[in-house]
């Protein structure tokens, strides 16, 4: 079959690879209907996530059709249309049983790497390096889905493929930021990042009762899209002082909840950006925490900062003093998708959530490297490029 392979730093190509096989009785094989580019893939492509091998298939956000099931798969049949959570959860370890699915104990087949990096490993994720289990990614014609009864969800009739696709990762990730960030009715929420996940975090904050949501980015079309579809106020950080704007708009208090959806390759227009870039290039720090720093400083006293962006290692100039002296709650997590996906599909069907606007561009699998190039450089207003095998 054809698949999009990482071949080295900033090198992607579509290659012929062997078809995936059922490896366990709880696996199933899915034929891809659509997958999407994700900002976190860019960290892999740029070489900031070091545990990649040439030939690794990337991609983790997808919808497909079941073509083969293992002997112990009970909830799915051949022909079902399913959206699959990007993180793989076994459903029965302590973490899965407590709805903390991205921390599953049993799905990262390379636990020693994660334990060396983080103390304990995270769950396995499709197409996201050997540190995260080394599973094949979804930008392919077929993909194996382990523990399929827990990670795949039938898509109700009436929800089209493109809308359902984003329930695989972007929507639950954004929802989780607002939910675990503790958004309550009447809150003011600030969201750094107006990509797909940032837009979903903003929308989720409103649906959880926030009175005001203020989204921050620098890309005009993303700011406009967030205003239109999430309903939030927006700030262009290249044309205003974000901290001063937030203070002014919140009566001097600062936002109650700050959600960072930018990650390790953050940009800013200040001198700190040059400093962070230099240190990252020299490998003196692995991640650029520009937006996290801003969020911590901007957050009101005793507020919550939730880090949704992907970080892999150590950062410099982390304002721990502000966390302590302002009494902040600082949280972060990879995405506990299985906890939210059924509810999100219901909200999508009810029209409370809209996602299809995120798919600004569409490519066949053969042109997937072009899709990533466009997505990376944000040309032609690209927010998400959808990759459709078989088109």
């Amino acid at each position: 079959m054809k698949a999009l392979c990482w071949e080295g730093v900033n090198k992607l190509s579509v290659e012929q690879v062997p078809d995936p096989q059922l490896r366990n009785d709880q696996d199933m094989i899915v034929r891809l209907l659509a997958g999407t580019t994700c900002g976190s893939d860019l960290h892999l492509i740029s070489g900031y996530v070091p545990a990649m091998q040439a030939g690794d298939v990337i991609g983790h956000e997808f919808i497909g059709e079941v073509v083969e099931t293992g002997a112990d798969v009970r909830r799915h049949r051949v022909g079902d249309r399913v959206v699959v959570c990007s993180f793989v959860g076994c459903g029965r370890c302590w973490y899965c049983a407590h709805d903390l699915w991205s921390l599953c104990d049993n799905t990262n087949t390379n636990p020693g790497i994660g334990q060396a990096l983080f103390g304990y490993e995270s769950a396995g994720i499709f197409g996201y390096s050997h540190a995260m289990g080394g599973l094949r990614g979804s930008h392919a014609e077929y993909v194996r889905v382990p523990f399929a009864d827990y990670g795949a969800f039938a898509v109700p009739e009436g929800i089209d493929d493109t809308s359902a696709l984003f329930v695989s990762d972007s929507v639950p990730t954004g929802w989780m930021g607002a939910d675990l960030g503790g958004v309550t009715p009447g809150d003011t929420v600030a969201v750094w990042g107006c990509g797909a996940v940032g837009q979903m975090a903003a929308r989720a904050a409103f649906l959880l009762g926030a009175e005001r949501v203020i989204s921050i980015d620098r890309i005009p079309e993303r700011l406009a899209m967030t205003q239109r579809f999430a309903g939030s106020e927006t700030l262009d950080y290249t044309s205003t002082d974000v901290a001063a704007e937030l203070r002014e708009r919140t009566g001097g208090r600062g936002p109650d909840v700050c959600i960072e959806v930018v990650g390790m390759e953050a940009h800013s227009d200040g001198p700190m950006h040059l400093y962070d870039q230099a240190k990252q290039r020299l490998r003196l720090q692995t991640d650029r925490p520009t937006a996290v720093r801003q969020a911590i400083h901007a957050c009101r006293k005793a507020g919550t900062v939730f880090v949704l962006g992907v970080f892999t290692g150590a950062v410099d100039k982390f304002p721990l003093g502000a966390v302590v002296n302002k009494g902040l709650t600082l949280r972060g997590a990879q995405m506990h998708g299985q906890r939210y996906i059924p509810m999100l599909l219901e909200r999508l069907a009810a029209g409370e959530l809209r996602t299809s606007h995120l798919a600004t561009h569409s490519f066949p699998l053969e042109r997937a490297p072009e899709a990533y190039d466009m997505f990376k450089h944000k040309t032609d207003g690209c927010v998400r490029a959808v990759i459709r095998p078989g088109t």
Partner: protein, 157 residues
Amino acid sequence: MKWSYRAVMLATVLTAAARLGWVRARRRRAAQEADRWLVVTVNRAPTDVGIQGAPPKPLDRFGDELEVRVRPAPGDHGTELAARIRRPVPPKAASWPARLAGRDPRQEVRTALREAKALLETGEVMLPDYPPTATGGTPAGKLVGWISRRSGGEGVL
């Protein structure tokens, strides 16, 4: 001259004492490391884990080589399943060559503990994808492949 001689002697004695203390601390730590239990917590009741006093699969294949302990975990965490190799094993600090070669006895026990936990909790041990797609031709790629192969037996258990 007399004073400088005394100072040199004092420095030598202090250095020797410090070195002796460091060596003793290292030995104590090495002895602890060699004797340490490797532990996983299984999200099942103790009666499900220590079935009729026998160690769960695949730990049972070690026979008398392994000491196995099962006890309830605090709160709702399930059951702690611990194993320790009965025969003397080299301390971790001295076992780098064996660890690199994949022949440290603790690696096999770690893998078995993880598999026992997975079998008890889910009924299967999730296997990596096959066939692999990685060509791993570059030195960095080969290193990632080698680390991945060792990964199941390494870690912080």
